[in-house]
């Protein structure tokens, strides 16, 4: 029996973060010209907050989707790939429909958005067939989804645009809710924002409700913990897992397409693509949040907030090497995972269920 050094728990982590934040705020207020002061003014800047919300969209939605798949017993590390295909197809469909205002009463951005979600769902379906019916190794199948997406998006882009990057298609407009957007502090944040942010906020609440308050949610949990118990209770495990994986495709698709049309406006297919590992950060986020959809939303704010501050720093012209700054989210992931390594995976996660056995 190997003794592991005991790990600080979530409470310690939160207290620690709170203490660091408090020290930072005090230092920033006392020495406004120091690094602490500059960072504090950036953190307090409303535009940092709105950027944070937009950047949280792919992370939060992919994380909520990943929760459903993993809770049902199918570890979907392909959500990075789902973000890529949905973002890319949303952009290219919007581009193909052209600069006209709308087709069949729906604006071209919304058509692109819908197709993006659909494509992501189809990829998730493919992944589900391979993992659930053909009992392939979930990790390898997930990596395959990512690698296919990583190659496919720039490939199609090269055919259409002769470049790994697509042309720009413009952005979703902000949707401003009258009256509510006048609320001090929160109004501009929550009620004067592009549609994908509303979708993200609604999805977190809906995801939580679905998982914790409906019969289907209980079946998902049972399917991931003890599929045989669910089977003998007369519920089709295969169907529950298919539905859960398709849900992960839909949520990731909402995140990828929403991010593409609401934030990027174009799709850069080179290297790690414009998604740039946000799907993997989403996985760290839901583990950090212990599979709680609303926790995952809040966790995505941590990563997105750091990224938003990095953008602001660059805007202000601080000569911080971008390569270094870009490592921040990943370094944060490692730090966070060290702290929450105790997250308990569902008992049957990663295992194909064979109902025919004995």
């Amino acid at each position: 029996m190997i003794e592991l050094p005991s790990r600080p728990d979530r409470r310690t982590l939160l207290v620690g973060l709170g203490a660091i934040t408090a020290v930072w705020v005090v230092l920033g207020l006392v020495f406004p010209d120091s690094w602490a002061g500059v960072l504090l003014s950036i953190a307090a800047n409303p535009s940092t907050h709105t950027t944070m919300l937009r950047l949280a969209v792919p992370i939060a939605l992919a994380a909520i989707g990943g929760i459903f798949a993993e809770k049902s017993g199918v570890i979907n590390i392909g959500i990075e790939g789902l973000l890529i295909v949905s973002a890319f197809s949303a952009i290219i469909v919007t581009f193909w429909l052209g600069s006209g205002e709308s087709t069949l009463a729906l604006s071209h951005h919304w058509w692109g958005f819908a197709v993006g979600v659909l494509v992501s769902t189809l990829f998730a379906l493919l992944f589900a067939v391979v993992c659930i019916d053909f009992k392939a190794d979930q990790i390898i199948a997930g990596l395959a989804v990512w690698l296919i997406a990583l190659g496919l998006a720039p490939f199609v882009s090269r055919i259409v645009f002769d470049s790994p990057n697509t042309a720009g298609v413009g952005y979703f407009q902000n949707v401003t809710i009258p009256v509510l957007s006048e609320i001090p502090l929160l109004g501009y944040l929550l009620f004067d924002t592009p549609p994908q942010v509303y979708i993200m906020l609604a999805a977190a609440v809906a995801g939580w409700y679905l998982l914790n308050r409906t019969a289907f949610g209980r079946w998902v949990v049972a399917s991931g913990e003890n599929p045989k118990a669910l089977d003998t209770a007369g519920v089709d495990v295969r169907r529950v897992r298919y539905t859960a994986v398709l849900l992960s495709g839909i949520f990731a698709g909402l995140g990828g397409a929403g991010f593409a049309l609401g934030q990027l406006g174009t799709f850069a297919g080179g290297g790690e693509t414009a998604i740039g590992g946000r799907g993997f950060i989403a996985i760290a986020t839901y583990l950090f949040a212990n599979y709680h959809p609303i926790g995952a939303l809040l966790g995505s704010f941590l990563f997105a907030g750091l990224e938003a501050m990095q953008f602001q720093l660059q805007n202000l012209g601080y000569a911080v090497p971008t390569e270094l700054i870009r490592t921040i989210p990943y370094a944060t992931v490692i730090v966070v995972l060290v702290f929450v390594g105790k997250t308990r995976l569902p008992e049957a996660a990663g295992e194909a269920y064979d109902g025919d056995e004995d």
């Binding site: 029996m1 079946w219 118990a229 003998t232 209770a233 007369g234 056995e357």
Partner: protein
């Protein structure tokens, strides 16, 4: 409970009072006939035991009734109506519920969520689970059948006995009138077994019908109204407990006369093979659970350790076999101080170990029996030639063990997890005892094993003793330690309360010792004579 007749005769017309009637059930698997033309007639409101050895086809038969298997031939009648169950759901809808040996519960969910799983009452047009209604219905069921469970408790935190009641409630919640229990006592403590008998009585009084699968004679005799015996997939008779004896039943089950108690003729003992002095062990949480135990096992001797589970037996055995380092004290084996020896050195030195948990420690479940047969011998010159394993030799060895220890089905190519618990146990015991050891440390060697094979394992242990080997035996089955041991140590809270002569001590005295009662002065002096016989 109702008075059943001796329901042996076949060929009668449909009987209104039969809750379940299996008529000529045959179930074939590729190469195996698991059930061969089996008839089973279960009267409403009775407890019907299905008795047989491991692999006799009891569970297969019940899986047919529960819709997990489709019978190759034959009819299933419930309440006199022929039914076809394609899946468990159909059986549940017809009022048949099954409580599996390995509980079908989700440990992380609450009692209420588990009970309602798959049958959740909805509200708000299906948008939410009506949790109040689940709790109300559970409270009603508890009232009616005299159960007490907390619906909001997490299942994983309940005792095994309480989990079993949750399983029973789950079946009742689904409206089961016939309850099938697969080896319900295998995992229970004696007190929980008594409670279960009470529950079964309450259920039959309320008109429920119980079928329970067991390989334990005593249970069938004690609690059933009728007993149907299966052997090799065939029904060999249905009897009423009142009109039969244990010996007759055992013979019916095994097909030959069985010695229910092993005979141990005296053997000349030799020098000490294993000796432990002042062994003190802490458990994983750092609590001292073995406090300064001294013991000695001589060649040609079986030392039994009796005690209620959790009094330090596991940790003591782990310290002796090298799975855990003792915090104090020394362990000597064949004259060497082996306290710091690795497992490998101890195995190579001739120490065999039948571990208490075959799943966790005895077998690698997804490995087949050939691969499992080499575990522990993967470096012995018998099977390893220059870093390469001689798989053909290992296969022969595996097949020998399977044949000798009557592992069923007799195939070395199936994964360990596909065998029933009793057959897994036979394989582990066989592998360990056929290592040609000088010392066997066996914990619960016959747990879950049928009486025919139990008899064989006991014989093998006695053979080893006759050959001048030493055996350290830990068992929670009192008759087992009592009939096999030459000396019997009773452990309580990490200390030996007494070391006694198993032939003269009564079960009542043993029970008191196991509860921590110190022996009186007179018996103590007798006991200390015995200790000196071995301990010096």
């Amino acid at each position: 409970m109702s008075e059943p007749g001796t329901a042996t005769g076949g060929g009668a017309g449909p009987n209104e009072d039969l809750a379940v009637h299996l008529d000529g059930i045959t179930k074939r698997f590729p190469g195996v006939v698991a059930n061969d033309d089996v008839d089973l007639r279960v009267e409403r409101g009775s407890v019907h035991a299905l008795l047989g050895e491991n692999g006799a086809g009891k569970t297969t038969l019940m899986n047919v009734l529960y819709g997990l298997y489709e019978p190759t031939e034959g009819r299933v009648l419930v309440d006199g109506e022929p039914r076809q169950f394609d899946r468990p759901r159909d059986a549940i809808d017809a009022g048949v519920g099954m409580i599996h040996q390995h509980f079908m519960l989700v440990d992380t969910m609450t009692v209420a969520e588990n009970i309602a799983l798959g049958n959740e009452p909805k509200k708000w047009g299906g948008l939410a689970v009506d949790r109040d209604r689940i709790e109300r219905e559970i409270a009603d069921l508890c009232d009616r059948y005299g159960f007490s469970v907390d619906p909001s408790a997490t299942v994983g935190e309940l005792s095994v006995g309480a989990q079993q009641r949750v399983e029973i409630l789950k079946a009742l919640y689904r409206g089961a009138d016939v309850l099938i229990l697969d080896e319900p006592t295998a995992v229970l403590t004696p007190q929980e077994v008594e409670d279960l008998y009470g529950v079964l009585e309450e259920l039959t009084e309320q008109g429920k019908t119980i079928i329970f699968i067991t390989h334990k004679l005593g249970e069938a005799m004690h609690s059933a109204d009728a007993i149907t015996v299966l052997r090799d997939g065939k029904s060999v008779g249905t009897v009423a407990p009142a009109t039969t004896t244990r010996e007759d039943l055992a013979e019916l089950m095994v097909g030959r006369e069985v010695l229910l108690e092993a005979d141990s003729d005296p053997v000349e003992t030799g020098g000490a093979i294993l000796s432990a002095s002042n062994v003190t062990v802490e458990n994983d949480r750092g609590v001292e659970v073995v406090s300064g135990i001294d013991l000695e096992v001589r060649a040609g001797e079986i030392l039994g350790i009796a005690g209620v589970d959790g009094n330090g037996q596991s940790e003591l055995i782990e310290a002796i076999t090298g799975l855990r380092t003792p915090d104090e004290g020394t362990v000597r084996f064949d004259g060497d101080d082996v306290t710091d020896w690795s497992r490998r050195r101890r195995i190579d030195g001739g120490m065999a170990h039948v571990p208490e948990d075959r799943h966790e420690q005895g077998l690698v479940m997804p490995f087949d029996l050939v691969e499992n047969a080499v575990l522990g011998s993967q470096r012995s010159p018998r099977f390893a030639h220059g870093g390469r394993i001689d798989w053909a030799g290992v296969r022969d060895h595996a097949e020998d063990v399977i044949g000798t220890y009557d592992v069923r089905p007799p195939t070395a190519d199936a994964d360990a997890e596909s065998f029933s618990g009793g057959n897994q146990q036979k394989f582990v015991v066989g592998r360990e005892l056929e290592r040609d050891p000088d010392l066997v440390v066996a914990t619960h060697p016959t747990r879950g094993v049928d009486i025919g094979s139990t008899e064989f394992i006991h014989e093998r242990l006695l053979d080893l003793r006759r050959e001048g080997k030493a055996v350290l035996l830990v068992s929670s089955a009192l008759d087992e330690v009592q009939s096999l041991s030459d000396r019997l140590a009773v452990i309580y809270e990490g200390e030996f309360v007494d070391v006694t002569d198993p032939d003269t001590i009564t079960e009542e005295e043993l029970g008191l010792l196991m509860a921590g009662e110190r022996p009186s002065e007179t018996t103590k002096s007798e006991a200390s004579d015995l200790v000196e016989g071995g301990d010096r």
